[in-house]
């Protein structure tokens, strides 16, 4: 109930994350991880930091949106938003659904992706997979399934996200975030 109230009052302030409201910084990129599982978030962030990269990165961690308004002026332009869905937590899923309303529509042109974890433990799943897929469809964003507790998968996910981040930040000439829609096409569409 309280979550609802905070949502309403803050929505009124129109605090939405926008992709183009700030100037980009040379050779930098910022990624925003949104999810309620803090340990996993932190682990992923640290794995991303360890990876070799030739640009300056800043990783922003949040449990939900909107982001606190008082930090707006010091926050850089967000290039990629990763929503971390843990299918074992219905509470977390609802949080993410509510947070999506605070993302500007322009982000959904390739600058958002959903990371889905916890699918391995079938007995503990409390979020319906069809609901997760529907989220991906409705918001036209790719779903990436991974079990982040395994180091190998975490590293390869971090590498993948870094590559996506580079493209979203415009560091790769000739490739824009709009190309990610090709990730959305499945064999069912043929």
């Amino acid at each position: 109930m309280q979550r609802q109230q905070r949502f309403e009052s803050q929505r009124a302030k129109m605090s939405v994350v926008r992709p183009f409201d700030k100037l980009p910084v040379l050779n930098s990129a910022a990624i925003l991880l949104v999810g309620t599982d803090e340990d996993l978030q932190r682990q992923l962030a640290q794995t991303i930091l360890k990876e070799k990269k030739d640009f300056k990165i800043s990783i922003h961690l949040a449990t939900s949106l909107p982001l606190p308004a008082e930090r707006d002026h010091i926050r850089p332009r967000i290039d990629l938003i990763v929503f971390m869905i843990n299918v074992q937590s219905k509470y977390g899923f609802k949080n993410i659904e509510a947070s999506l309303a605070h993302v500007d529509a322009n982000f959904f042109l390739g600058k958002v992706c959903f990371l889905v974890t916890g699918v391995g433990r079938v007995n503990h799943c409390s979020v319906d997979m069809s609901a997760v897929r529907k989220l991906g469809d409705v918001y036209c964003s790719p779903l990436v399934f991974c079990e982040l507790e395994l180091e190998g998968i975490r590293i390869s996910t971090a590498q993948r996200l870094l590559r996506m981040l580079q493209i979203c930040a415009g560091h790769v000439p000739g490739v824009s975030a709009l190309f990610f829609s090709s990730l959305m096409r499945s064999s069912n569409d043929e």
Partner: protein
């Protein structure tokens, strides 16, 4: 290759038997030994808390242990001859009573004894759940007679951990007090983590709020140890009216049971772990203050205190 413990156990058992025979040990010694064993391993049993109330106009007499034992034994034996009753006093003023029940025709069953823990300075008694329900009224009667109380009632509070039950009813756990002015978060002696400046925690203030709310609700100290909380719902089923035709105004009966090796600590860690909003529902956080973990929830009026259950 497994070590065969049997000869060792048998040797010890035989030595004990011999020792008992040499010293002419009787049932009494065996019973007292049983009490000592159960006192050491008290958390193996499930304990229920009972509260006694003074008869109107009753005075607080100085506790006389000998008189207590005599009155207790007399009250039980006046209804049932075939019982074995033993007492042992421990540190912290705990009196342990062991009762082995028989019937009019059978000898007391020493293997299914009931244990009662009574603190003479308090109106509380803790009874182990192994009791045969038919003997319970007699036991309760004997307790109030022996301790000069007027009435006794079973509280909706049960757990394995006897010490935690005592903590709850004797109010020995760290309690929280409502303050008018919310205190700013106190500086804790925590070494600052080597945080990478590239990692930015956006909702730091929200995390601090959750910690503060948690401390206000749960206090700083360790929580009493309970294993379950049970909520019996006798409420109407609320659904989309277009759904199934639940036209009959019947209560939808449902039982919700929370279980955990340490329920209150688990609840305390829910919000910081990002699994629930803070503050939690008062139905969960009121458990130690209301000294109960079994609830009945009825329609409209919210939480209804269970009616006094007479033994």
């Amino acid at each position: 290759r497994r070590l065969d413990m049997r000869p060792l156990k048998e040797a010890i058992a035989e030595a004990v038997v011999q020792l008992c025979q040499e010293n002419l040990a009787s049932i009494k010694e065996a019973a007292v030994l049983d009490i000592v064993y159960n006192h050491t391993f008290q958390n193996k049993r499930v304990w229920t808390v009972y509260q006694m109330t003074k008869a109107t106009g009753g005075e607080t007499d100085i506790f006389d242990f000998t008189a207590f034992k005599r009155k207790f034994k007399r009250r039980i034996q006046s209804s049932l001859i075939n019982v074995t009753i033993n007492f042992k006093e421990f540190e912290d003023n705990a009196i342990w009573i062991r009762i082995a029940w028989g019937t009019s025709y059978t000898k007391p069953n020493q293997y299914k004894a009931t244990y009662v823990v009574y603190h003479s300075q308090t109106p509380y008694a803790f009874i182990s759940k192994s009791i045969n329900r038919s003997n319970l009224p007699l036991l309760c009667q004997a307790l109030i007679v022996a301790s000069n109380y007027g009435d006794i009632r079973e509280m909706e509070l049960r757990s394995h951990c006897l010490d935690s039950l005592k903590d709850i009813v004797f109010k020995r756990y760290s309690q929280t007090f409502q303050t008018h002015h919310p205190k700013p978060l106190q500086e804790r002696n925590v070494a600052p983590e080597n945080v990478d400046p590239r990692l930015i925690q956006e909702d730091k203030s929200e995390k601090e709020r959750i910690q503060r709310v948690n401390r206000e609700v749960f206090g700083d100290g360790p929580q009493p140890k309970l294993e379950f909380a049970q909520y019996k719902l006798e409420t109407m089923f609320k659904s989309n009216p277009k759904m199934v035709n639940v036209s009959e105004r019947e209560s939808f009966r449902c039982l919700v049971k929370f279980s955990s090796p340490h329920l209150l600590e688990a609840l305390k860690s829910l919000a910081p772990a990002g699994m629930a909003d803070a503050p939690l529902s008062p139905l969960l956080t009121c458990i130690p203050h209301k000294a109960r973990n079994y609830f009945k929830i009825k329609e409209r009026k919210g939480v209804l205190a269970a009616s006094l259950v007479s033994p």
